[in-house]
């Protein structure tokens, strides 16, 4: 179906359009009505970035393609919740379409559009309807309840009458009427100064090779602080656990930058910034831990036979309680004067112009990044090669942290390097990180459960059951941890490949002439 959405500037244009249309077609009133729509997406625009929209209208949810309005799935759930996850929906098709994309993020209402429409049919000489003209009055409100009104015209074709539609389209364009994007969502979003697709936890900044490193650092830290601030509201409203995750990742990235590029900023600035970041990390540690732990419930249940699955409920009920009280504590902190001052201070620290402060700060960012990245690679390769079956678990955990630092550096400075090569290195690093991450995760889980068991003082039958179930789980997790460790050697060997080393050398060696 063909559609065109356009605006008319004033009564004069409307009259002209009516005149031309009625000279060629008869027009008849078809129906009048109201239609309210609410648009949903995740905070980080996962639907929008994948050419999708989720709309609630006429008592049902519809997932559509953004560009051509093609319907993908429908669901008859009521709009009575503040947020939605794929599993909240009844429709299997909708759930499947959303699961992989949305994962742990929540779908929240972005804006709503109240529409009053009048439909007119345009008919040919046989009085056959060949197109429908919809005159719509819209009241659009965003999530902060700001609103604006708009009158638009919406022309849609009837199947098989595309030629006629094109003729009318020509008329509209010929009259100089403003044609809007067919799906006026982007137009709506933009009107509120909230650009679709703009928020992302990923930081991609374009650097010029000769840019002063101190300036580059300042820009990176500013962007990270922006993300931290943007996530606050979502954390406080407890919309989904990814807000806190994005927050903490940004804090970590900032700390890595500060430590790796320490000498390119004044010492006092680095020290104070780091102090505040540590505080933010500490305040958010516990909640993140508990959020991650809660996610394990489904996994653990899958390790257990059907009969024993419910034994875990008391454990997770307790964790949930703990999680809720930790959340409330964090919320209080985020609303406190202390926190607000901390964030303000981060901003002030970044406002100063540090370029004039040191000669070192004026070094070109390309070479500086090459140095720090190469240094990190060398350390990782050296450490990884020394790990044997006799090595302590701590060594793998250390290696994991080193890999994380390297990953952040690669991603933050990616724009300085050839895209395909840097992406290749990141992919290689990711495989090693996944293995080390699994190992670490399993170690942490094991520790937690051992600790729980140690402090456990249950005597009743139910409590004994729980203890033995946890004992069984620890065994399962331990076995998986050993498997992860076994896999490490092969994974690291692949990372330590000739090809990898060649690309690393290619990208990060500074030749004698300094380029």
């Amino acid at each position: 179906m063909n559609e065109i959405v356009f605006r008319i500037a004033g009564a004069g244009q409307e009259e002209e359009l009516q005149k031309i249309l009625s000279s060629r077609y008869s027009m008849g009133f078809r129906e009048k009505g109201r239609n309210d729509e609410i648009y949903f997406d995740t905070f980080d625009w996962r639907l929008f970035n994948n050419n999708l929209i989720l709309v609630y209208s006429d008592s049902e949810f519809t997932l559509k393609e953004y560009v051509n309005n093609k319907k993908i799935a429908r669901d008859s759930s009521k709009n009575n919740l503040k947020k939605y996850f794929p599993n909240t929906f009844k429709s299997e098709v909708l759930r499947k379409s959303l699961s992989n994309l949305i994962q742990l993020r929540a779908l929240i209402p972005i804006c709503s559009c109240k529409k009053g429409y009048s439909l007119f049919k345009l008919m040919n000489e046989d009085q056959k309807t060949i197109a429908i003209l919809s005159i719509e009055e819209l009241v659009i409100s965003n999530d902060l309840n700001k609103s604006f009104t708009e009158k638009i015209f919406h022309l849609s074709s009837i199947k098989g009458y595309d030629k006629e539609f094109e003729k009318i389209e020509k008329i509209i364009i010929g009259l100089g009427l403003t044609v809007l994007h067919r799906n006026y969502l982007a137009y709506i979003y933009e009107h509120f100064g909230r650009e679709p697709g703009a928020y992302s936890a990923k930081v991609s900044i374009r650097f010029l090779p000769d840019m002063f490193t101190s300036e580059a650092v300042r820009i990176i830290l500013s962007k990270l602080v922006d993300i931290i601030i943007e996530c606050e509201a979502g954390i406080k409203k407890d919309i989904d656990i990814e807000f806190l995750h994005d927050y903490r990742v940004s804090v970590r990235k900032a700390r890595v930058i500060l430590s790796e590029l320490k000498s390119y900023l004044p010492e006092s600035v680095t020290a104070e910034f780091k102090q505040i970041l540590i505080e933010l990390g500490n305040q958010t540690n516990q909640l993140r831990d508990l959020d991650v732990y809660m996610l394990k419930k489904a996994t653990y249940e899958s390790y257990l036979p059907e009969v024993l699955k419910k034994e875990l409920n008391p454990l997770f009920d307790q964790i949930k309680k703990e999680r809720q009280s930790t959340f409330r504590k964090l919320k209080r902190y985020l609303n406190s004067e202390t926190y607000k001052n901390n964030v303000l201070q981060l901003g002030y620290l970044l406002e100063e112009d540090y370029v004039s402060d040191s000669e070192r700060g004026k070094h070109g960012v390309l070479n500086v990044s090459k140095n720090v990245i190469l240094k990190r690679y060398k350390k990782i390769l050296k450490t990884g090669r020394t790990i044997t079956s006799k090595s302590k678990d701590e060594e793998l955990h250390e290696l994991r942290l080193d890999c994380k630092k390297l990953r952040y550096l690669l991603e933050l400075f990616a724009s300085l390097y050839e895209e395909s090569k840097i992406n290749f290195l990141i992919t290689q690093l990711k495989m090693l990180q996944d293995n080390l991450g699994d190992f670490n995760d399993l170690s942490v889980q094991q520790e937690k459960m051992e600790l729980y068991l140690k402090n456990y003082k249950g005597n009743s039958k139910g409590e004994i059951n729980l203890a033995s179930v946890i004992g069984g789980l620890i065994t399962s997790v331990h076995r998986k941890q050993l498997e992860a460790r076994e896999t490490f050697y092969e994974t690291f060997r692949k990372f330590d490949s000739k090809e990898n080393k060649k690309v690393i050398k290619d990208l990060f060696t500074i030749s004698r002439d300094g380029k």
Binding site: K121, D126, Q127, K128, I158, K159, G160, Y161
Partner: protein
Amino acid sequence: MKIISVYNIKGGVGKTTICVNLASIAAHEGFRTLLVDLDPQGAASFYFRIKPVKKLGSKKFLSSPKKVFKAVRGSDYENLDLIPASLSLRNLDIRLTEMKKSQSQLSAVLKQFENDYDIIFIDSPPNITLLSENIFNASDMMIIPVIPTTLSVLAYEKLIKFLKEKKYKKLHTSLLLSMVEMRKTMQKLTIEKLLKDKENMFNTRIPYKTEIERMGVYREPVVVKHPRLKVTKLFMELWDEVKTIIELKVVMKKVH
């Protein structure tokens, strides 16, 4: 997707009326419906105010899915589309005789719409040709409107004999008493005889009504124009019977 054809070798028995009104009801109920007007007279297309398609010749109809898709026109009613009649399809018969698998070509063409429509209605031409055989072959159900007169019944019986010999696997036929006027004794007697012979017959009977005749004047299905008249109710009952039979058939197939 189910294919329902309305067919009789005799003209003027109410084929198009039944086709058009049933399609309207089906669409109104939410079934994605396509009406294919294979009768060169083009009455169904006329009722829907849709002009014949000029560029769809019989060659393209049989071999070019794109061209067939392009020929589909939206009616003024939701969920109801039409492939209008076309004089250029008058050669379909002849073209079919030149092809292999000449009886299943229409089936192949319609299969292309499997994902787009739930029900296809075929308004058939009043003759018996290779095209008709294609219609028999493609259909899940065939509604045979019969005016209750001796000659009409005779023609019906000949048709049934022909169909039995051909052994169409999925085809279910049903006689629909059409243009019934119970005041006429001849009709009354004919109906009694038919009931005795236990033919596959719809319980619903469509009476002769001027409102139906006037469809050609106001160019709207009678079920749309006169939603509260008895005749509309009858069409709806007929549609209920059709739905039951088709679903019944599906259940029986599964038992096999």
